[in-house]
Amino acid sequence: MQLEYIGAFQIVIGVIVRFWPVWVALAIVMGASFVYRKQLGLYGQLYGTGVGIAGVGICFFWLFTAIFAHTIAPFDPLAQISVMKDALPGAIEPESGMPFLFGGDKLARDVFSRMVEGSRIVLIIAPAATAFALMVGITLGLPAGYYGGRIDQILSFLANLVLAFPVILLFYLLVTPGIMDTPIPYGLAGLFFIFPIIFFCTLFYTRFKNRPDRLYWLMGFTILVGGWIYIGLVFNADPFGIVSIAPNQLNIFVAVVFASSPGVFRIVRGLVMDIKTRDYVAAAQTRGESPWYIMLWEVLPNARGPLIVDACLRIGYTTILLGTLGYFGLGLAPESPDWGTAIKDASRLLRSFIHPALPPTIALMSFVLGLNLLADALREQSMKD
């Protein structure tokens, strides 16, 4: 059967029209931020430079794409419509009359819908894994930098151990399907996911230990919510059935956190070693504050600038890591629409068809580029202060 095609111009118009919820959301959020940029602190200052606006714009674009993915994607990313196998961009699907804007892949799925739906997977796992890596890195990096000595030696040795590991080998060993039969991923998940709870408990305890009325409330809230998410993620036994994660995603999550937390650790340790020589730390020590109070309420807030910049860069790096995992076919399900898996599938067939390869590569590249631009603008702004 002969497929009908729409022209290149119509493809461009079609793509722009499909993304309409994103444009609306972008216009509202960025317009409002631009108008009130004077009141928005560091975030508002980003709107002062071209690089900053570009970075924020790209990041928001992918964020809103992930949020409205189901509205934007015209087809089910997993549905195979056999007549559309390897269809070129702009081919019209006969049944619904809607075009495959970026064509079909070798399994006759819509490349455009897969790219849009893939953003969901990437934008959930990458920032979440980065957040956990930050928690682990900060909680371990603070004492290592502040106390120094034996603690520092041991923790630094462990961090260097992980950093010296070739990342791919680590992934091949940690993200094989077989490892799900062993307790290792659950053990590691149990270890990593406890860090945010410890972090927030210590944070609130050191600040409010003399004010029981607020302390009990905050601690109880942390332990309740943290414990709920912890049970849901690690044991997959959330009593309400809201928090859950597929075993293979947990595995990826753990591997990514494991690979990127030593980097955070090193940065935090370096920052703390620098900041602890400042006068306000000496003043707090003289006041008789506890070491953890000084670390969490004196040192950490003053290290936030470089940490925010690093977090932006690290989300990008984590996205690249996730893509690497997908590229080697590790962890994620083979039909998963995430960008790395899509790049792997398409790159094998480059000789015959190139159109399925380009959308995921450009998507991944632009998202990481947006994050890097954002980090660059943030760094510039924080240097001005």
């Binding site: 690089v51 040795f157 260097n160 151990l161 950093l163 010296a164 590991f165 070739p166 990342v167 791919i168 080998l169 091949y172 060993l173 940690l174 094989t176 399907p177 077989g178 490892i179 039969d181 062993t182 290792i184 990008g316 690249i320 893509g323 690497t324 590229y327 080697f328 790395g340 790049i343 792997k344 398409a346 790159s347 480059l350 000789r351 190139i354 390869a357 380009l358 590569t361 991944l364 590249m365 990481v368 580029l369 994050l371 890097n372 631009l373 660059d376």
Partner: protein, 345 residues
């Protein structure tokens, strides 16, 4: 200085020991051993046959004994053939001895690759050579371009050149190898047809511009942005120094100030960065070699990992850890040597 280097070498040895232990533990997990048994026995072998294969070849011995055997501090035992009761080497294709012998890493024996059915060293060192060649060309293209871009950008901070080059370097750091590889292959191999999209022929027929440019380009582009940004930062810092202003006020031309006064001081920081790029390059090597089918170290690593080839993987991890840590040491020593203000205690 000497004691510093000796201590660092000690740490390297300890790290290698710990890491190989971790790798050894992970590849000897039960599911992974099963995977090995499945690839090594016939397709339709039953679970008992797989188990007996593992038993016969000594994979069910105590974990630490096996690690000791690999390391060379515990004698390797020959396999007793159940039919004849005769002792023979474990794998016929590796000429393993038929008597108990100390034969491990410490004796220079890397063990036996079950995937390729040859001793690991026979496979590992040619692959390392091939990767070394790739790395050499990557370095030859990457370092000068990155330094040039960084210096041009950092020379006049905030100028139009600076902004253009900075955004370009940010863009290259946002492009991992598997993305740029695909884009380059699309453009130069599929579309223009100038270059070969596969480097498989580089192993057999030697490297040519036609088959080697794409892998080198793909690997170099990711590193260029990073090194260029570090060079730029260091250059910007140097250009604000007093001695640069003095030189300018003395009446020297801008180009001679940059070349004679700024460059030498600005290149100290990038030196360490380039050295610390090796871990990144190792990951890049794996992606690029898989993508372009170049039979080097990374290709070997992936093949070994897919077949759970124990000795091969241990050899690979040993080599890569050594490369990473040794370049770190080199960068520290080199930094102290280049910058006389830093003294190593």
């Amino acid at each position: 200085m000497l004691s510093f280097i000796l201590r660092r070498l000690g740490v390297i040895a300890l790290t290698m020991l710990c890491l190989t232990l971790v790798v050894f533990f992970l590849i000897n997990l039960d599911p992974n051993l099963k995977k090995l048994a499945i690839t090594q026995t016939e397709m339709r072998a039953t679970a008992e046959q797989q188990e007996s294969w593992l038993q016969r070849n000594g994979y069910r011995q105590n974990f630490f004994i096996r690690y000791g055997q690999w390391l060379g501090v515990w004698p390797k035992q020959p396999v007793i053939d159940p039919a004849t009761g005769e002792a023979k080497g474990r794998f016929a294709f590796c000429n393993e001895p038929a008597v108990p012998a100390f034969s491990g890493i410490l004796q220079g024996d890397f063990g036996c690759s079950t995937k390729y059915k040859v001793p690991v060293s026979q496979k590992l060192f040619p692959a390392l050579g091939a990767t070394g060649l790739l790395m050499f060309w990557v370095m030859v293209t990457m370092v000068p371009i990155a330094l040039l871009v960084g210096i041009l950008a950092g020379m006049r901070e905030g100028s139009r050149t600076d902004r253009t080059l900075s955004v370009a370097s940010i863009a290259t750091t946002a492009t991992p190898e598997y993305v740029s590889g695909v884009i380059f292959a699309v453009v130069f191999a599929s579309w223009l047809g100038w270059l070969n999209g596969s480097a498989a022929s580089a192993t057999s027929q030697g490297i040519t511009f036609y088959n080697f440019t794409l892998p080198v380009m793909t690997m170099a582009i990711y590193g260029i942005g990073y090194i260029a940004r570090m060079t730029r930062a260091s250059m910007v810092e140097v250009m604000t120094q007093q001695y640069i202003r003095t030189a300018r006020l003395k009446g020297l031309s801008f180009s001679s100030v940059v070349i004679k006064h700024a460059l030498r001081n600005a290149l100290i920081a990038p030196f360490t960065v380039i050295m610390l790029q090796f871990p990144w390059l190792l990951t890049g090597v794996v992606v690029v070699e898989t993508m372009f089918r170049y039979q080097g170290f990374g290709f070997l690593l992936v093949q070994g990992a897919e077949a759970n080839d124990i000795d091969l993987l241990l050899g690979c991890s040993l080599v890569s850890v050594f490369v990473v840590l040794f370049t770190q040491l080199l960068s520290d020593v080199g930094y102290a040597y280049l910058n006389p203000r830093i003294r190593v205690q």
